[in-house]
């Protein structure tokens, strides 16, 4: 059974249904839709101020539209937008402080639904089949109430909460398995948990370095970047790279930095090469080789490196204003030499870049 087709069918039915009382709206062909091709920048806004927003940028025609969720839907996105997941026709926006998820059509940004129950401090979302998985920290001060919430993507209903160890953050799907990196929330953690998406159970907890912050899949390997504990921790620890075999879910190789003050982040793949950042510097890494000792280049125009993506030989950086008030920037660099190619103004505190 192809879930995708079933889902599309359902979705089209839903769409026609919703149009019955609306004489204006013929279904928008996806290619002509307003946001069919370009970049979404998620702007988390200020904590407590409910001024999160989404910007849409089209590099081809230099279009830069601010507040597209608000403009299209006539309502505020909410407080502290944490992340966005693009899946099929959906853009799934996790709004951390508002404890909700807004689900919109990724081409029109029209709101399809809101999930605002069974979420406590939601962080990141991932879809497998018709199930939506969302990591949750629970109360910041409580290490034992963290969970991955499971929702039905067909009707946005709640299925169940999977209790997990402290601080589940990013998650990535491989076939029917879900790999969840536990940075630790308000504390520190050092595991990747493996969830079976059919039984909704944790099947394994794999120990990696402290604060696993990003994961990529290459072949039969899951590469996990751990940043190590920061200087304010009881004991500062070095970051490192961990290669996990997707068949056995065992750590096969460890590459650790020797200096405890080095805290790498943002592992990305491009053309078989891996890239990561330390501070505002970008490092090039060939998977399986020794860790690089010097940076490829430094992104000096960045005020704060808050969101980082590599896409089609370009580096995209979401950079808030240094004091985290006011509008930030999207900076676009050439991956080959680190030269600044373009720059766009964004909303308040951009934290993520998503390609449509």
């Amino acid at each position: 059974m192809n879930y995708k087709h079933l889902f599309l069918l359902f979705f089209i039915a839903l769409f026609f249904n919703s149009c019955e009382n609306d004489d204006c709206c013929a279904p928008v062909p996806e290619t002509d839709a307003q946001f069919s091709s370009g970049i979404f920048v998620l702007n988390e806004g200020n904590f407590g101020s409910a001024n999160a927003s989404v910007s849409f940028i089209n590099e081809e025609n230099e279009q830069n539209s601010a507040q597209i969720f608000n403009e299209v839907n006539g309502m505020d996105l909410g407080d502290t937008a944490q992340s966005m997941e693009l899946h099929d026709d959906f853009a799934i926006i996790v709004v951390n402080v508002s404890n909700k998820i807004e689900i919109v059509n990724r081409f029109t940004f029209e709101r399809l639904g809101t999930i605002n129950t069974n979420l406590v401090n939601p962080r990141f979302a991932e879809v497998i089949g018709d199930k939506l998985f969302v990591t949750n920290w629970g109360d910041g001060g409580n290490p034992d109430d963290d969970f991955v919430a499971v929702f039905n993507l067909l009707d946005f209903s709640f299925i169940e909460a999977i209790p997990v160890m402290e601080g589940p953050e990013k998650l990535i799907s491989v076939n029917n398995a879900l790999y969840v990196a536990h940075k630790g929330g308000f504390s520190f953690n050092n595991i990747v948990s493996v969830i079976d998406s059919e039984s909704n159970t944790v099947v394994k907890e794999v120990e990696v370095g402290d604060l696993p912050n990003s994961m990529v899949v290459q072949g039969n390997d899951l590469w996990v970047m751990a940043s190590g504990k920061p200087s304010y921790a009881d004991e500062e620890t070095a970051g490192g790279l961990y290669r996990i075999d997707l068949g056995t879910n065992e750590v096969m190789e460890v590459f650790e930095f020797t200096d405890n003050t080095i805290h790498p982040e943002n592992l990305q793949l491009n053309d078989g090469n891996a890239y990561f950042t330390i501070g505002k510097s970008v490092y090039l890494y060939e998977p399986g080789q020794e860790l690089p000792t010097s940076a490829a280049f430094s992104l000096d125009e960045v005020a704060v490196l808050y969101g980082f993506e590599i896409y089609q030989n370009r580096i995209y950086v979401a950079s808030p204003r240094a004091d985290f008030t006011g509008d930030g920037d999207l900076l676009i660099y050439d991956l080959n030499d680190g030269s600044l190619l373009d720059q766009y103004s964004t909303g308040i505190n951009p934290n993520g870049i998503y390609f449509n």
Binding site: N51, S98, G140, G141, Y232, K280, R321, I348
Partner: protein, 609 residues
């Protein structure tokens, strides 16, 4: 025994000791009755505004509410009764010092006082002094100082006042004040409490202010006792206990709770010997808080700081108009809490204050140097002068060097605290004009403040938020106070107004600092006729920027409150009053998404016996 008799009595006693002591007495009187003598004696070149007892009585009990309607200062409130901070002359929340009976009570953790954790009903006198004052009042006295004081009387009378109130959102207010005195002993007791469900509706929305319930209780006791004829012991004690749910915002639900427990104690031994006045003060302050992110759980974070102060002040009066104070003091602060370890501060200080009054010209010079291993301490100074051109016109000038020391959070916060911080320092000057025509009084002041090494929390290279000495800000503006207290058909009538024009410019970006309005106005009118009294209070807050690029702002608003009181009986005095808050039901907010209440009503029954 009334005040004059008391004066005569002490005068007589004194004359036996010193043949020429008559003038001392006037001085002594201030020294004895007031807790914050320096506010009286060492404010040369600065304007001190006292908020009258009747205005305090007719205002809501929380300090924010009193000050926002009666001063040109701007207050940022996270909702009614929630965390509230002041911006005075465009400065930040930790650049205004709150002074309790002469002692700086700003928090060791945040460097600021939450103006909604002060109940005004337990104080006899509330004054404000815009401008610098670190020489006398220490850290944070850059924008201005706000003084909460208790006073003594030795008239042999006793007085009791009991107030009970109830109002919208299930709000209860109660206070009791008792004054008892003999010729040798004076005792003041104040007890006040407020509680409210505080679940007001957010105007123009379907939502309510959820989780904003609060209560607080304040107890204040002050005791003075003469030992012999030239020694007096004074003791002040204040205890505050308050629990609050921190309300959510328009889009942000909240289930958190915050508990404050503050105690402040001050013992002073004052003795008078000829031209010398000596004062030894011992103070002990304790501030503690608990924060529950989820009020239904047992998990909380907390902080506790204990401060001990010993201060010796020797004053020598060279002549009637020449006075020198030499002060040495030592402060020890110990703090601990969630995310804070080994927080300690030991500060030794030495100050000299010189004041001289000539016929029309008065001037004052003061210096202070602190010694501590916590930070590099600048030499603080203040130069003030005034010249009385005529009975209608007084010109003032004051210039000072002040500071705001890094807080415990700045220094010792585990996730980024920076022990290499320097204090924020300010160099500032002001020129004030005072005009008086019969019942009409105007004060107009222009000022300039250059603040260096502003401490800000910003992310460092690895994304960790850390405080650093970064910005340089220039504040300048105009401040205007006007008052007209007269009789209208033999009935007391008063009109009071204040206005502030404020520019607070970051020198790097040339932009106005966030949360700092360019304009603020207050206007109030009071009238009494027979047993009735009416007071109308209003304010206008100009728009504020909410982002440092000045791309986002909160719109301006104006609100008004109406008070009507009626006295039934005079002996014992029984009165009832009604307060209508936000009479025009205006939707307003002083911080983004933090909606304030619409129209509400409160009534109070007062007994005096």
């Amino acid at each position: 025994m009334n005040r004059n008799l008391y004066l005569l009595f002490t005068l007589f006693l004194c004359c036996c000791l010193h043949a020429t002591a008559q003038n001392d007495f006037i001085n002594w009187l201030d020294e004895v009755l007031l807790s914050d003598v320096k506010l009286n004696n060492n404010s040369e070149g600065q304007f001190v505004k006292e908020i009258s007892a009747s205005v305090i009585q007719r205002s809501e009990p929380l300090l924010t509410s009193l000050l926002k309607f009666n001063t040109p200062f701007f207050f940022r409130e996270n909702g009614y009764g929630m965390v509230s901070s002041a911006s005075v002359r465009g400065t930040g929340a930790s650049q205004t010092a709150v002074i309790w009976n002469g002692i700086n009570i700003n928090s060791q953790f945040t460097g600021q006082t939450d103006f909604n954790t002060v109940n005004t009903k337990v104080f006899d006198n509330i004054s404000l002094r815009p401008g610098g004052g670190s020489v006398v009042y220490g850290s944070g006295a850059i924008g201005g100082t706000i003084h909460l004081s208790n006073e003594f009387r030795f008239d042999g009378n006793s007085e009791n006042e009991l107030r009970l109130g109830y109002g919208s959102f299930d709000s209860y207010q109660a206070s009791y004040n008792g004054n008892f005195s003999t010729e040798k002993t004076s005792v003041n007791i104040g007890l006040a409490g407020v509680s409210s469900e505080n679940d007001y509706k957010y105007l123009d929305t379907q939502e309510r202010n959820e989780n904003g319930d609060f209560y607080n209780v304040s107890l204040n006791a002050s005791i003075a006792h003469w030992i012999g004829d030239s020694n007096i012991l004074k003791f002040y004690s204040n205890y505050y206990q308050g629990d609050r749910g921190f309300s959510g915002t328009l889009n942000l639900p909240s289930n958190s709770e915050f508990e404050d427990r503050n105690s402040r104690n001050l013992l002073e031994w004052k003795s008078f010997a000829g031209k010398f006045t000596s004062s030894l003060k011992l103070a002990w302050l304790d501030e503690s808080f608990k924060y529950y992110e989820n009020r239904d759980s047992d998990n909380f974070s907390s902080g506790d700081a204990e401060t001990g102060i010993i201060k010796y002040d020797l004053e020598y009066e060279f002549s009637k108009n020449k006075r020198l104070n030499l002060i040495v003091d030592y402060t020890d602060v110990q703090g601990e809490g969630t995310g804070i370890e080994n927080a300690e501060r030991k500060i030794g200080g030495i100050s000299a204050l010189w004041s001289h009054q000539l016929e029309r010209l008065s001037y004052e010079l003061s210096l202070r140097q602190e010694i501590t291993n916590n930070y590099d301490s600048p030499l603080l100074f203040s130069i003030g002068s005034s010249y009385q051109f005529s009975e209608n016109y007084l010109l003032r000038f004051n210039s000072s060097h002040n500071f705001r020391i890094p807080t415990f959070n700045d220094l010792f916060w585990l996730q980024g605290g920076n022990t290499d911080l320097d204090p924020e320092t300010s160099l500032q000057a002001e020129i004030g004009n005072e005009l008086k025509f019969n019942d009409f009084k105007i004060n107009l002041t222009g000022y300039f403040i250059d603040i260096d090494d502003l401490i800000r929390w910003i992310p460092d290279g690895s994304g960790i938020w850390r405080p650093v000495n970064t910005a340089n800000v220039h504040n300048y503006g105009l401040e205007f106070f006007a008052g007209w207290n007269t009789q209208l058909g033999n009935n007391p009538f008063s009109l009071n107004s204040s206005y502030a024009y404020t520019r607070s410019i970051d020198q790097e970006t040339d932009d106005q600092l966030i949360y700092t309005p360019q304009h603020k106005v207050t206007l109030s009118a009071g009238y009494e006729i027979e047993n009735f009294s009416v007071l109308l209070q209003s304010l206008y807050n100009g728009s504020i920027y909410t982002s440092s690029d000045n791309n986002y702002e909160l719109e301006a608003y104006e609100i008004a409150d109406l008070y009507v009181g009626y006295t039934f009986l005079t002996k014992p005095e029984i009165g009832v009053d009604l307060r209508l808050n936000n009479i025009f039901n205006k939707k307003y907010q002083s911080l983004p998404s933090r909606i304030m209440p619409g129209r509400s009503i409160n009534s109070t029954l007062t007994f005096k016996f």
